[in-house]
């Protein structure tokens, strides 16, 4: 663990706390589900079944799952255009997700949001932003509401390394530190801001930005579920205890495309095959599987988890494909509550 905190709270001391076997198994199940759902959606896009390209979470599963395993019902999560994983990590509805990505009537946002805006308030997803960094203000505001309501809720904001270049991150760190808001800022540094390698557009380290605000900033291996979980635990606990925000930088890698359609328009490669292959050797899923095997979970149990995830994804895809389109007139009833647009 790589800790940049200059003003570290003792609660952020990297503990050696370990998830129980059942906790690990549950997290593994979520990660596998995300992987199989994303692969299936990639296939559905290739097959021409989706209205638009999708931004898939493959390779980053440990980030959403390790953080969200630390949350409770009622906590808020601001998500991104690469947000299917966050939703599923919050126990999202697989059918509703597929229907939304297919743009259909029974999608969680009635087909109005689509893949980049997968939000479900019943699961605490307070919006998914295709404005890079657009969720930072929303999560900070949700943290303010949580503080006002005093029920121990926390707000988590997922954003990418690209969003760390928006001014909102500094503004959020400043306000959340001043007001000790129950906020956890989670940067998923996946190596690219769209197609731009992070190093070409990001100076210094992202986690270390927190230090200037007196906020703990912690960078961990985002492909290591246990490390993510260990870092998220104290950050969430600190927020819940009213001690203020934490910035987590989860160093991971997007092994699939920025957007599934990219091979159709890229004029040149933006990374090497070797780089992608190298990161595939650090795939977060086998690392957890190996750990479970070492803990005595049988291969057939683990295979069953995988088969069940594939089945759920296939079933949800078939559901979405036959689900009706939304009635186009629905748009006129959604801009305002109880008011003509």
């Amino acid at each position: 663990m790589d800790t940049y905190a200059v003003n570290a709270n003792p609660s952020l001391d990297p503990t050696l706390e370990q998830p129980t076997r059942d906790e690990l198994l549950a997290m593994y199940g979520r990660m596998v589900l995300i992987r199989r759902v994303e692969e299936r959606l990639g296939d559905d896009f290739t097959a021409g079944k989706l209205p638009q390209s999708v931004h898939l979470y493959v390779g980053q599963e440990a980030c959403a799952v390790g953080v969200c395993a630390r949350l409770e019902d009622g906590d808020w999560v601001a998500s991104t255009h690469r947000g299917h994983g966050h939703y599923l990590a919050r126990d999202g509805d697989v059918r509703g997700l597929f229907a939304e990505v297919f743009g259909r009537r029974d999608g969680i946002c009635r087909g109005m949001g689509g893949s980049p805006h997968v939000a479900d308030f019943s699961k605490g997803i307070i919006g998914a932003n295709a404005v890079v960094g657009g969720g930072i203000g929303i999560a900070t505001g949700a943290a303010l509401a949580a503080q006002m309501q005093d029920r121990g809720r926390v707000a988590v904001c997922f954003f990418g390394d690209g969003a760390a270049a928006q001014g909102w991150l500094g503004e959020a760190l400043n306000i959340a530190a001043l007001w000790r808001l129950p906020l956890v800022l989670v940067c998923e540094n996946n190596g690219f801001a769209e197609f731009m390698p992070t190093a070409t557009v990001t100076a210094g380290s992202i986690a270390s930005r927190a230090a200037g605000y007196g906020v703990p900033g912690v960078a961990v291996d985002g492909n290591d579920l246990i490390e993510v979980w260990q870092a998220a635990g104290p950050a969430v606990a600190r927020a819940r205890a009213g001690q203020g925000p934490t910035l987590l930088e989860l160093r991971t890698y997007r092994t699939r495309a920025h957007t599934e359609s990219e091979s159709g328009f890229l004029s040149r490669p933006y990374r090497t095959v070797e780089e992608v292959e190298d990161w595939r050797t650090r795939d977060p899923l086998p690392r957890v599987r190996d750990r479970l095997s070492a803990a005595g979970v049988r291969d057939d149990e683990l295979d069953t988890i995988d088969a069940e995830a594939r089945r759920l994804a296939a079933e949800a895809s078939a559901f979405a494909e036959t689900n009706p389109w939304p009635d186009p007139s629905v748009v006129y009833g959604l801009m305002f509550h109880d008011q003509e647009p």
């Binding site: 808020w76 601001a78 999608g107 969680i108 946002c109 009635r110 087909g111 109005m112 949001g113 805006h117 939000a119 479900d120 308030f121 307070i126 919006g127 932003n129 404005v131 657009g134 930072i136 203000g137 929303i138 999560a139 900070t140 505001g141 949700a142 943290a143 303010l144 509401a145 949580a146 503080q147 006002m148 309501q149 707000a155 001014g167 909102w168 503004e171 959020a172 400043n174 306000i175 001043l178 007001w179 748009v331 009833g333 959604l334 801009m335 305002f336 509550h337 109880d338 008011q339 003509e340 647009p341």
Partner: protein, 330 residues
């Protein structure tokens, strides 16, 4: 009835709504000191949790308003000068105006963005804009521009109590003006124009701060030219009471819109478009817009003053719709 300054009516509305509903919170830059007076005394009264000075971070304040509202608060965020809406526009245009829509209607967003707008006071180009058009165009934001103390109070209370995002435009330089404010829980509904005068010779629609020069123009028109105008205050730009405007134009056949937006795509242009679409058959003369030219507002008072719609320009526009010319001024 009570005689109140416009700024005090604003303050009264905030006090009453914060008393009424403890979910109402207010934050913004210098809301404690309150340079304008509209938020004065609120921190003392409601405490530092509900009333907060923020850093000068307009970029995130708007997004925070959306998050706090989505998570159950009723949010009043003071954006100070209307020009700072530009700085914080993502939270308004991409978030507040769209979050309900994008989520298929899952969320209500009770947010009131308060701003002071308008020129004529040598504030310079970055403190004097009237950015109605960009807000009216968003679709998901109510836009409110009161002209007097009573409506200021009633409309602000409606905004805070409502379940939709609203940008509330405080008329700059009018805060000290007195008006009669009804007693009790005075609410003014959105989407209902006020007929300030009923004359019948021409229709004048005057928005926000422009009501004052429009009233002065109406007096001159009546006294000097024997022309009596219908003077309409739309009060809310979104939703817009199109029917009230169309009904008046149906009688008068003539329309002048007075608006402090810059001319191109001004709110006045929209009103003219609506009347062109739905009231063309009633028109007996080309419609006139009295607006700010397509320039920034300068600091030097003699350069700024003629850019803001004034009674002389309004009188000339009304007379033009009647095929008449102003008398030469000595």
């Amino acid at each position: 009835m009570a005689r109140r300054r416009l700024m005090h009516a604003l303050n009264d509305a905030l006090v009453e709504e914060m008393e009424r509903d403890e979910r109402v919170i207010l934050f913004g830059e210098d809301v404690e000191i309150s340079m304008f007076g509209d938020t004065k005394g609120l921190r003392e009264r409601f405490g530092p949790r509900r009333v907060r000075d923020t850093p000068i971070s307009e970029g995130i304040l708007t997004g925070m308003a959306v998050g706090a509202a989505a998570a159950g608060q009723r949010v009043v965020v003071h954006m100070f000068m209307a020009n700072f809406l530009y700085t914080g526009f993502d939270g308004i245009a991409n978030q507040a105006a769209k979050l309900r829509f994008m989520t298929g209607g899952q969320v209500r967003l009770p947010i009131t963005f308060m701003v002071l707008y308008g020129g004529g006071r040598a504030l310079g180009a970055q403190h004097a804009d009237t950015p109605f058009p960009m807000l009216v165009n968003l679709g998901g934001i109510n836009v409110v521009a009161p002209t007097n103390a009573a409506d200021t109070k009633g409309l602000l209370k409606t905004a805070i109590r409502g379940d939709n995002p609203t940008v509330f435009f405080e008329p700059g330089g009018r805060g000290g003006e007195f008006g009669e404010v009804p007693d009790g829980d005075h609410l003014v509904p959105f989407g209902r124009a006020a007929i300030v005068r009923g004359g019948g010779d021409a229709t004048v629609v005057a928005v926000g701060s422009m009501m004052k020069p429009a009233l002065q123009a109406a007096d001159v028109l009546e006294r000097t030219y024997g022309v009596a105008v219908d003077l309409i205050d739309p009060r809310t730009l979104v939703p817009l009471d199109e029917d009230a405007i169309l009904a008046s134009v149906a009688r008068t056949g003539r329309l002048v819109v007075v608006d402090e937006s810059r001319d191109r795509c001004s709110f006045a242009s929209h009103v003219a478009a609506v009347v062109g679409d739905r009231g063309f058959a009633s028109l007996r003369a080309p419609m006139k817009r009295v607006t700010v030219p397509n320039v920034a507002l300068p600091y030097a008072p003699p350069a700024e003053k003629p850019l803001i719609p004034n009674p002389e320009r309004i009188v000339a526009a009304v007379l033009e719709t009647l095929g008449r010319a102003p008398l030469a001024t000595p």
